[in-house]
């Protein structure tokens, strides 16, 4: 059993090449198309729950800030938000599955969420294994 993070980028300018279906931004979809998309994602999460594979997930606000330490006694330095985020992360989900194969299968299922015209958007999902904390009980 291993945990994987699925990152939903709605990738446009970074990562592997896009398919045209994935490239129509959501604000150009109809209300029904947006609802159908959201419903698909909720149903997807429910299916994972039923299988005992769902660990957690959230949607993220599109914009945030960069923050860093600026020395003892000083307030944190912030930067951003940046208008053209190359690598927008729209949401994340963590699943606990039996194999990498199953993690990919789940990601592909999420990527098939309907978009413009009800066709699968084929978006790229980034799949990253989580590192366990401790070494196994044997050496």
């Amino acid at each position: 059993m291993a945990k994987y993070l699925l990152l939903k980028h709605y990738r446009r300018s970074a990562g592997p090449a896009n398919l045209p279906e994935a490239d129509i931004p959501m604000d150009e979809w109809s209300e029904q198309e947006i609802s159908a998309h959201m419903r698909y994602m909720n149903d997807f999460a429910d299916r994972l729950r039923e299988r005992g594979e769902y660990v957690g997930g959230d949607a993220l606000a599109p914009e945030g800030a960069f923050v860093r330490y600026d020395g003892e006694g000083r307030p944190p330095v912030t930067d951003g938000p940046f208008a053209e985020t190359k690598d927008l992360i729209a949401g994340w989900m963590i699943i606990d599955v039996d194999s990498q194969e199953r993690a990919y299968e789940a990601a592909a299922e999420l990527s098939a969420a309907p978009g413009k015209g009800g066709a699968p958007i084929h978006e790229w999902l980034e799949v990253r294994p989580l590192l366990g904390w401790s070494a196994p009980g044997t050496e």
Binding site: M1, E53, D96, A135
Partner: protein, 412 residues
């Protein structure tokens, strides 16, 4: 987990469940009860016990629970007569005869480790139904939400109920599931390694196969070294560097005794061989006195029993210790890419005096690590070889400074 059980305070139920739950469940299942329904009935009986026992403790709590759980099972069952009419006659008259508790628990283990289940489902169900842990405890141990674990367990129960158990159970599968539990180590408030040892001890009493004893010996021999495997900061300490004074000698002698009895029966299996290798490590007063030649011989035996590339990897590391790093590297050349292969090569290169290459390989190996403890350990190895100076010289990591290779040759 039933709704009724959810309503009760899970924590007050835990000790009771732990003590009696699995054995009562085992009796119901042996009497022919459907797995999921039987577990519901046991839960309800335990909840009733919580309410009644404080006023009047039964003379034989176990027998009381079996009676109440069986009655609850029949009640629930009768309410579905249409579906189950066929089985009714048999169920109303459970097979007579004394309760063979050991057979019951063995049968329950076979069910929980049913071949139709994925290993993670088998692990969860075994801990829940045989180990007597609550769903919350299992969920915490595997760092998933309780609702997710509840789904995983009820799904597993449905699979088992649908598939049934035809023919003898798969003992090898049970052993692999127990070893998986052992390997997980600590999980929340539950010590999974200790839990796995308990379950394997029970199994040894019921299935006197040499391989079951071999698995128990292997677990005990690994467990004996546990306290010495991690530094104060949680960092890994390799076998060669462990403080052997902290090894648990009682566990070691128990493990060796069990192993010797098993080996004497002359039916060798993978777990016995792995235990033999662990025993040779445990026997060496210092790392330098390890009998690597004999360890290589055991790895040769293991290669005959399984053509696993992981075994080939460990064998190559052992060859490196027995016959020198060049021989180890030659053995490693035939090993396909498997986890920790790069770390093994780094270790062998370092011993062959190729520090620069070794450092580069440690960096790669750290990137390939699947857990934080190993990754940090390998990163420190690379830093040590590169002689990276610390800006705070007082903080130089002594362990890393005297460090040996990253791969424990006892890796199995």
């Amino acid at each position: 987990m039933t709704r009724v059980a959810d309503a009760a305070d899970d924590r007050t139920l835990e000790p009771l469940l732990k003590e009696h739950g699995p054995r009562v469940l085992a009796v119901l299942v042996r009497r022919g009860a459907d797995f999921a329904a039987a577990e519901d009935a046991v839960q309800e009986a335990l909840i009733e016990a919580l309410g009644r026992w404080p006023d009047r403790m039964p003379r034989d709590p176990f027998a009381w629970l079996v009676t109440v759980a069986w009655r609850k099972y029949l009640d629930a069952h009768r309410s579905q007569t249409a579906r189950h009419r066929r089985e009714q006659a048999e169920l109303d008259e459970p097979p007579p005869g004394p309760t063979e508790q050991s057979d019951d628990t063995l049968r329950l283990l076979f069910l929980c480790c049913h071949p139709a289940l994925t290993s993670s489902s088998a692990v969860a169900l075994t801990l829940r139904a045989v180990g007597g842990l609550t769903t919350r405890q299992v969920a915490e141990a595997y760092l998933v939400p309780e609702a997710t674990m509840a789904q995983r367990i009820s799904r597993a129960k449905r699979t088992v109920a649908a598939e049934g158990l035809s023919g003898p159970g798969d003992l090898g599968r049970v052993l692999r599931v127990l070893y998986l539990i052992f390997n997980e180590g600590y999980g929340g408030e539950v010590d999974l390694a200790a839990e796995a040892i308990l379950l394997t001890r029970e199994l040894v009493a019921q299935a006197p196969e040499p391989e079951v004893a071999g698995l128990l010996a292997l677990m005990l021999l690994h467990h004996a070294r546990r306290a010495s495997r991690f530094a104060g900061d949680g960092g890994l300490v390799t076998l060669a560097e462990q403080d052997r004074g902290r090894w648990d000698t009682d566990l070691i002698s128990e493990g060796i005794g069990i192993l010797q009895d098993a080996l004497a029966r002359d039916r060798l299996g993978e777990f016995q061989v792995q235990a033999a290798i662990a025993a040779l490590h445990a026997d060496a007063p210092t790392a330098d006195e390890t009998d690597w030649v004999q360890i290589v011989e055991w790895y040769d035996e293991l290669t005959v029993l399984t053509d696993s590339p992981v075994v080939a990897l460990n064998r190559a590391v052992a060859v490196g210790e027995a016959d020198g790093p060049q021989a180890g590297l030659r053995a490693l050349a035939d090993v396909p890419p498997v986890p920790r292969r790069t770390a093994a090569e780094a270790h062998l290169r370092e011993r062959a005096g190729e520090a620069t290459i070794a450092a580069e390989l440690y960096v790669v190996a750290a990137r390939e690590a699947t857990n934080v403890a190993e990754r940090d350990h390998l990163t420190r190895q690379a830093a040590r070889l590169r002689g990276v100076a610390s800006d705070q010289s007082a903080g130089v990591d002594q362990r890393a400074a005297s460090g040996q290779g990253a791969v424990d040759p006892d890796l199995t």
